[in-house]
């Protein structure tokens, strides 16, 4: 049997990847292409006819000030969230690989927030911010404390806080794997050569963990950009619609305002922005990767 014929390769591929490819096409590629088609229609989401309107939805999306405000907010939120998620995750990973007592317990404990779904997590934090913190504030000051969720900046802070809390544990696992992949002998060699532990960390461990950073930052950026569930349950866009993130605006446009085509066009723009940032970051990160 010849192994380098085209039909043999196709058969081999179909045998191993056929089902996966089919499912991927059915649930990702086909809806994606159909979605692009819908951006050229003025469909309201339910009616039978989907009149073609050319690029009108894209024009409307570019003119939609609320969308770009939401986009700007999402960028600000993502920058803060990504930075804090990764700093915290790295610190926690360092802690749980440094041999402290009960480190397995900490590993599990830090990861738990990630097991709580975004919606539930949002409601829990809403309660904490709206009731618990306010009650504590009242008790301390003796006066009336307003909830953080009542001000636009406060709401933004709450969103960043809840996201960091949710994702840091997950990213920690990737950093833990990174730490474990750096062989102790390399660190030891560096110390023998006169490095302080901090220098060894900066010059040996971190460069060798570069792939963990690339992965964690990529994952956190892409997740933050499409945040919806926490946004919905924690702030619902309030106060004054100033915590509406891009994904929530897209949902509202498509389903609440019944401008499906425009919503879809905005979703596509969000996708492209997200993809560009993610891929660029991945590319820059991969470029300088060192192999041990």
């Amino acid at each position: 049997m010849k192994r380098n014929t085209f039909s043999y390769k196709v058969k081999q591929y179909l045998m191993f990847g056929g089902v996966g490819t089919f499912l991927f096409c059915a649930v990702v590629i086909v809806p994606f292409i159909y979605g692009i088609y819908l951006t050229f229609t003025s469909w309201d989401g339910v009616s039978r006819d989907k009149p073609l309107v050319g690029f009108a939805n894209y024009a409307a999306a570019f003119k939609d000030a609320d969308f770009w405000m939401a986009m700007g907010r999402t960028v600000i939120y993502s920058v803060f969230a990504v930075v804090f998620i990764n700093i915290l995750a790295f610190a926690m990973a360092y802690l749980v690989t440094s041999g402290v007592k009960g480190q397995n317990f900490f590993r599990a404990g830090f990861f738990v927030p990630n097991l709580i779904g975004g919606i539930v997590l949002g409601y829990i934090w809403k309660f904490v911010f709206n009731r618990a913190f306010v009650a504590i504030g009242n008790a301390i000051t003796g006066g009336t404390t307003t909830s953080l969720l009542a001000t636009p900046r406060g709401a933004m802070f709450c969103l960043i806080f809840a996201s960091v809390w949710q994702y840091a544990g997950y990213m920690m696992l990737i950093y833990v794997a990174g730490f474990m992949s750096v062989s102790d002998s390399l660190k030891e060699a560096a110390m023998i050569d006169g490095c302080t532990p901090a220098q060894a960390m900066r010059n040996v461990t971190i460069p060798l963990m570069r792939s963990s950073f690339v992965q964690c930052i990529f994952l956190s950026i892409t997740r933050c950009f499409v945040i919806y569930d926490v946004n919905l349950s924690l702030t619902k866009g309030e106060p004054f619609g100033e915590s509406v993130m891009a994904a929530m605006h897209v949902y509202n446009t498509a389903f609440t305002y019944k401008r499906y085509g425009q919503g879809q066009a905005e979703a596509l723009i969000l996708f492209i922005v997200c993809a560009i940032i993610g891929v660029t970051q991945e590319w820059i990160g991969k470029k300088g990767e060192v192999e041990a």
Binding site: D44, V46, R48, N130, P239, G241, T256, Y257
Partner: protein, 429 residues
């Protein structure tokens, strides 16, 4: 070791295959529809609070007629949920939607229900292009909720809502309550739907020709600051704001807290409507909660009237996805809901809703509903205006929230409202 791995591989393959088969099977059985002998129809209920009761009623109906009615509920936005049902070509036979959806969804997919007994029995059916498309589930009205027990506790006298006619009366009464020890006698719900779709909406509705007024807004010809009704309602709103018990966190006060305060008599007045009954019952309800018209200093034809009308309408799917027999079964079910004793008891007593049907004399089990029913019977209900653009409540809700939180002046609010309407594409209807 090798053997275990082989066994494991085989097991995994079986599990995955079964999983796939189950998914496929699920999709297949869905389309068959029937349960065997009898007819089977589906009903989409968008009122979460009556889901269990509805399922119970469906059981009763099946026992009587043999027709199986499967009742569904979804947390999703109604139109988004129905969109997925239509996209998968398996819509519900009966759909509960908001009145404005009848003019869009109902118009496209709805089946004509004229000729049924219930149509002549109500003033609230929705007819589009000569076809009866919307079956009213209940009447809902907006106004000021009051807790008569809480008031009596402070003033020592029985509360008579008819003694408060103007805003000045209202203010004087609130001051009396404050003097009596109730520090903050009012509360305001902060969600956008309550502030914009319910409160602000009254500005459009309480006038002779709401349609002309709305057209004026679209055309940018209305100056709200010069409009007596707008100012009168905003004056009342200011009063509610001034005595608001959640003043410090007006826009972070959760609905639950507001309802609890009303239910337990921590405050005396709250802008709201009869749908809040179930939320109010959740707490240590003191009893004696009622509803009265919002007092305004402008006295006109609408003074002493609540605002409201039919709310939550059923339409029967008349598209090619639903067979004629199923459509007929669905219409029969709705007719039964309106005309049978079981249906009447279900609406008024079990669910505590205000029935839109004249022949329904079963007393309403909802204290607020009882009062609303009196207003309905006396013809003291200002009709709803159902043709707002879809983003009206959320966009202007934001502006109303700013006003509630003292983040903008009345001039700025008026300008924002005018600007919204002037830059929005008019809704065809």
């Amino acid at each position: 070791m090798k053997k275990t791995r082989k066994v494991l591989a085989v097991l995994l393959t079986i599990i995955l295959t079964l999983g796939l088969a189950a998914c496929g099977g699920g999709g297949g059985s869905d389309s068959s529809g029937g349960t065997g002998d009898g007819t089977s129809i589906t009903l989409f209920n968008s009122k979460n609070e009556i889901q269990e009761q509805f399922e119970e009623l469906a059981k009763q109906y099946e026992e009587q007629t043999g027709v199986h009615v499967e009742v569904y509920y979804s947390q999703d936005t109604v139109s988004a949920h129905l969109a997925t049902k239509y996209a998968s070509k398996s819509p519900y036979t009966i759909n509960m939607v908001d009145p404005k959806d009848i003019y869009t969804l109902g118009k496209q997919y709805g089946a004509d229900m004229s000729g049924y007994d219930w149509v002549a029995d109500t003033d609230y059916a929705i007819t589009v292009d000569g076809k009866v498309l919307g079956f009213p589930t209940c009447i809902e009205a907006r106004g000021i909720l009051y807790n008569a027990d809480a008031i009596k506790r402070v003033t020592g006298k029985d509360f008579d809502p008819s003694s408060i006619n103007t805003l000045d009366d209202f203010k004087a009464f609130l001051d009396e309550l404050v003097a009596g020890g109730m520090e903050s006698p009012t509360a305001i719900l902060k969600p956008d739907w309550s502030l914009a779709a319910h409160y602000l909406q009254q500005v459009y509705e309480e006038r002779e020709d709401p349609e002309a007024f709305i057209q004026g807004l679209y055309a940018g010809e209305v100056d709200l600051m010069q409009d007596a009704k707008f100012n009168a309602l905003m004056d009342t709103f200011d009063t509610l704001k001034a005595y608001n018990m959640f003043k410090a966190g007006a826009i972070s006060a959760e609905d639950e807290l507001v309802h609890q305060a009303m239910s337990e008599g921590q405050d005396a007045f709250q802008f709201g409507g009869c749908w809040e009954w179930n939320d109010i019952l959740t707490y240590d309800y003191t009893g004696n909660i009622g509803i009265m018209p919002g007092p305004q200093n402008v006295q006109d034809a609408y003074t002493g009237m609540l605002v409201g009308g039919g709310s939550k309408y059923f339409y029967v799917d008349g598209s090619e996805y639903t067979s004629e027999a199923d459509q007929k079964a669905a219409m029969d079910f709705l007719n039964w809901l309106a005309t049978s004793d079981e249906g009447k008891t279900f609406v008024s007593e079990t669910c505590g809703m205000v029935s839109p049907f004249r022949s329904n004399t079963v007393p309403c089990s909802n204290d607020i509903g009882v009062v609303v029913k009196q207003y309905v019977d006396a013809g003291k209900l200002v009709p709803n205006y159902d043709y707002d653009p879809d983003d009206h409540y959320s966009k202007l809700g934001i502006e109303m929230q700013k006003y509630l939180a003292d983040q903008c002046t009345r001039e700025e609010l008026a300008a924002a409202i005018q600007n919204y309407w002037a830059t929005t594409t008019p809704v065809e209807h």
